[in-house]
Amino acid sequence: MTKAEKPGRARAGKQSGGQTTRRADASVDAAAPAASGETAVESVDPVESADGGSGVGETAPARERAARLAVRKTYKLYIGGAFPRSESGRSYAVASSRGDFLANASRASRKDARDAVTAARKAFGGWSGATAYNRGQILYRVAEMLEGRRAQFTAELAEAGTKRAGEVVDAAVDRLVWYAGWSDKIAAVAGSTNPVAGPYFNVSSPEPTGVVAVVAPDEPLLGLVSVIAPVIVTGNTCVVIASERAPLPSITLAEVLATSDLPGGVVNILTGSAAEIAPWLAAHMDVNALDLTGVTDEGLAVACEEAAAENLKRVFRPAATDWSADPGTRRLTAFLETKTVWHPTGV
């Protein structure tokens, strides 16, 4: 895991000092000018930079052990603003794109999914009741915090096999900023005053639909941000199943969310198997909508759609998405209801 980072530190002029963990690297890189970290990582071709070490036991070379044993991060779930382990006690090994062991990620269970829905429901009243201005500010704050951890994400994405990882982090930050600006504008664009044939004041405005269960795409940061931001900026709360292949940036994003004034429970992130968890969320009677963006297995998607019919969840299942393209308002309006209010006019 450190292979991609070593040249980065060298370029940034840092002395490695034997630091080998992601966390330590990130803190070093974060202190360095952002551009240098990005350039460094991008310049690395993971295959070419192979240093001969491979496999779990060999990723930390002996010289590092001699200097200092790395303090590795335990990746947990993100539920209700806290970072619990999976109730099931299970985990699964996450490998880099080259097959190296990175960490054990929590493997969320049905109970974890239920807890996450409970947390999301609890958070819904406060979050949907917050002013649009406030929600926009908080989303912008998420972008700020993400920007601050740029190097950490760049490194994690590179390990997950993301090409041009630095640019992807930039795009994720920019996307958050873009959606942040929508919070107090979507009502003007998606709402209307209706000229009814009678003496009535009549206005239609969009409102959040409630708790949204999201299966995130296998695009660990940009895709994840692109599915979460439109759901929450409009006042919904969500339970997200992170990319199964590359879940680690998702939990690191949770750390960003947790330090961004976002109320606990607005976003809940589960790692593990979508095939295992998604059907429970699709069938959960307190979930209002389902975003199946990340489901590639047709059978699983159909099963989820069928389960969603039970309480008539709104189901959003877009065709293949180009995450670098202008997202438009589709993802915003997919999780909005239109409320029409009538009142007589007169004296």
Partner: protein, 475 residues
């Protein structure tokens, strides 16, 4: 008090054929099956006509006709499609008396409502969406939004023509072609609408009408060449449809059941509120998905309001739907009457107190008197399930927060009513209520410019207004 003299509307304006086929590809064709439905006048149980029970093969023929017509229709300039829709709207106005009488005959609703509410709204919907046909690029869905293709539309029996208009007008305006299945108990006005399409010289296959029951509807919804499914009806059938289209990629809109709270605060204008409550639950015999079937009254005025409401119910006139003085017509079918009776009996069995005004019911036909249940708890089935009849459940509350809590305590979310003279409270309540339509100091208002549709299990999508276009565009 003086009695009103009978003032029946003449049936002579309507010519009902003894038997109807299917309207496919601009022609009347026979069903390939043997089954036929009889449609009866629910006020007298008189058989009005026999209509075909379309088979899967019939539905397939209709979908193919619609598919063929789609190429022609979607290629027309929007301004030409607009003119066809304007034509249809005009013919509806010209023939509105005929349509209103036929609607009341087939459905059992008072002529006062079909003539003064349904028909004007039907025409208004065609006029409204006619105007959109050449302005779709301005609707906010991009410069050149495209139609979806063939729309399979299944509509209920409570507002047969109005639901037809809600479905067909936006579909055609956007360039889709349609196969519409009216409800088995109320097919006649849809069949008359087929004649109107012919009068308007609408290209063959743009509108196809297939009559039948649930099987016909299922065949339409499940047809692989249908691109869009639009359904208005019960939540149970909506669930089945959502399940059956899973994974097909068909675009679906569902307008389903409701259990609306009509919330009356102690400062409300009482007489207005009473009229609103009556309009909310007894309009169209309560066969309204957004009916205000749960009255939430502030405890301090419960007695006063109920006294006034009961007094008002004593003046409602139940009887011949074609009589212009009739307020409450017939229940649409024997099956629906049985369901209303079952749930009302359950209301009593569960401990609520039942009241109806002194009211004699005609000997023939399907009738149910306006009924109020007091002492209703939230757990009672009459407070939770959609009765779809003239049955009002009365609950009480003390604070605005409690009213919101109780109003939202339902899996439905179609509509709600708020009665108070305090403006800030109206806005606060409207904000908190989880429902697609909130009527403040009024109830059961509809307009084609105004989006309508539900939250939660009341279905998804909106009909009416600019929002209603989305259901029929590839966006």
């Amino acid at each position: 008090m003086f009695e009103y003299a009978p003032a029946p509307e003449s049936r002579d304006v309507v010519d009902i054929r003894p038997s109807y086929g299917l309207f496919i590809g601009g022609e009347w064709v026979d069903s390939q099956g043997e089954n036929r439905n009889k449609t009866v006048n629910p006020a007298s149980e008189e058989v009005l006509a026999e209509v075909a029970w379309a088979t899967e093969a019939d539905v397939d023929r209709a979908v193919q006709a619609a598919r063929k017509a789609f190429g022609v229709w979607s290629a027309l300039p929007g301004s030409e499609r607009a003119k066809y829709l304007f034509r249809i709207a005009r013919i509806i106005q010209e023939r509105s008396r005929e349509l209103a009488v036929l609607e009341s005959l087939d459905n059992g609703k008072p002529i006062r409502e079909s003539r003064d509410v349904d028909l004007p709204l039907v025409a208004a919907h065609f006029f409204y969406y006619a105007g959109w046909a050449d302005k779709l690029g301005y609707a906010g869905y991009g410069p050149g939004p495209r139609p979806l293709g063939v729309a399979g539309q299944v509509i209920p029996w409570n507002f047969p023509l109005l639901m037809l208009a809600w479905k067909i007008a936006p579909a055609l305006a956007c360039g889709n072609t349609v196969v519409l299945k009216p409800a088995e108990t109320t097919p006649l006005t849809a069949l008359l609408f087929a004649e109107i399409c012919a009068q308007a010289d609408l290209p063959p296959g743009v509108v196809n009408i297939v009559t039948g029951a649930g099987e016909t509807g299922a065949a339409l919804v499940n047809h692989p060449d249908v691109d869009k499914v639009a359904f208005t009806g019960s939540t149970e059938v909506g669930r089945q449809i959502a399940r059956s289209v899973a994974g097909t990629g068909k675009k679906v809109t569902l307008e389903l059941g409701g259990k609306a709270a009509n919330i009356v605060f102690e400062d409300a204008a009482l007489d207005q509120a009473v009229e609103g409550i009556v309009n909310g639950i007894f309009f169209n015999q309560g066969h309204v998905c957004c009916a205000g079937s749960r009255l939430l009254v502030q405890e301090s005025i419960e007695t006063e309001l109920l006294d006034a409401l009961k007094r008002r119910l004593g003046t409602l006139r139940l009887g011949d739907p074609l009589d212009k003085n009739t307020d409450i017509g017939a229940i649409n079918s024997a099956a629906q009457l049985a369901k209303i009776r079952e749930l009302s009996d359950l209301g009593e069995a569960e401990g609520a107190e039942r009241w109806s005004p002194a009211c004699s019911l005609p000997d023939k036909g399907f009738w149910f008197p306006p009924t109020i249940f007091t002492g209703v708890a939230q757990s009672h089935r009459i407070a939770r399930e959609e009765v779809f009849g003239p049955v009002l459940s009365v609950l009480t509350f003390r604070t605005p927060a409690e009213a919101v809590e109780k109003a939202n305590n339902t899996p439905f979310g179609l509509s709600a009513g708020v009665w108070t003279e305090k403006g800030s409270r109206i806005l606060w309540m409207a904000d908190k209520l989880r429902a697609g339509v909130v009527w403040a100091n009024t109830f059961n208002r509809f307009d084609p410019t105004s989006p309508f549709g539900g939250y939660k299990e009341s279905g998804y999508g909106r009909e009416g207004g600019r929002h209603g276009l989305e259901a029929y565009l590839d966006v």
